[in-house]
Symmetry: C2
Subunit: 190 residues, 2 copies
DNA sequence: CTTTTTTCGTTAGCCGCCTAACTATTCGCC
DNA sequence: GGCGAATAGTTAGGCGGCTAACGAAAAAAG
């Protein structure tokens, strides 16, 4: 999620001024939005760069976490199907094929055909994958803790509350026929 | 910035429990981090999907905004170099080449050699590009306003304050020799 | 005035993400 | 039992991000 607008966030006065030209521009909403995207991107890059030191990508890490979280909960080594992994990590099945390809090439994960349903595959952590995960997790946790260190416990609670509100709102968007505007209709009728 | 962890955010109790196994895991820090990335991603996807209805990508939009913001401020039509665009939008020059390629192919932007410095190019909005931007901006502004509607003005101020704290913290990361750990040295010595 | 260093834009190649289409298999309904 | 509908995984092709390397041009150093 790189930018969506400019690297240097606009000052509030500029937004206020622009809102005179564009009545639809809500200055405070825009300010929050831009800060949110920028902060999310920065936080993402910090962790991505850190994971890169362990020679693993963000996507690969997500898959390992999904597999490992699974085996933690279920006692031991319940492999998951690519479709289940895609669902849990929020990518398409096609994307998951590529991610598992890479992880399998690196020997962190193993594919095997499902015994009961011959359409399906199972994906599970290899011992090497588990070792790698256990080795990088403490660093990853420290990284998150370092990043959040400037926030007090109270601020963190508030932060999570606000983020949850937004998350819920964004979730309403699924299947929504676009905001009150004729554009969607025009595009659809193309 | 897709996932970095699981789509369904872990409950706080699970984080607490995990922190017993991993002393480095700060439950509240992790919770904020995961919510931030998820919320940023969701907000990004909402707007990206909306821009797609106008047949423009997030990257292309950023470039148009940079060019337009420039001509707004400078009176009229100061073109920018690819390097300046890259700097302002936070991508590499190589990426900017691709973005400008696409925009030029679509006729929204025009390249021309710089008269004074023969290494450089200039990129400027075409009339079509400006029309497109002016047409989609109101929708874009409405989208942001809709997304932030659940937050009161007070909450927005708080939100921006917290996000700014994080932004500053993430900025400290540039050039930092990784958090107190031996991993970086190991990798570097490889 | 030459030589070295820096800067510019581009290219090549990798990865992750998407959609659309395809094959194979299973499910559900007659 | 058989046949259409749904599902699993993959493939193909596109875009956007990155790094590394390049040639051309300008700037700095000598």
């Amino acid at each position: 999620m790189p930018l969506l607008m400019l690297k240097d966030l606009p000052r509030y006065e500029c937004l206020l001024e622009a809102s005179r030209e564009f009545p639809d521009l809500d200055p405070s909403a825009t300010e929050v939005f831009l800060h949110l995207l920028r902060a999310g991107d920065e936080a993402f890059r910090v962790v991505e760069a850190h994971l890169a030191q362990h020679e693993i990508t963000q996507g690969g890490f997500s898959v390992l976490m999904a597999l490992w979280g699974q085996c933690q909960r279920e006692g031991r080594e319940l492999p998951l199907s690519p479709a289940a992994l895609a669902e849990r990590t929020g990518v398409t099945r096609a994307t998951m094929t590529g991610l598992v390809d890479t992880l399998e090439r690196d020997g962190l994960v193993r594919r095997a055909p499902d015994r009961e349903d011959r359409r399906m595959m199972t994906v599970e952590l290899t011992p090497r994958g588990e070792r790698k995960l256990l080795k990088l997790l403490p660093d990853h946790f420290r990284q998150m803790a370092w990043l959040m260190a400037p926030l007090s416990e109270t601020e963190r609670k508030t932060f999570v509350r606000l983020l949850t509100k937004l998350l819920r709102r964004a979730g309403e968007n699924d299947g929504r026929p676009a905001p009150e505007t004729a554009v969607a209709a025009v595009v659809a009728g193309r």
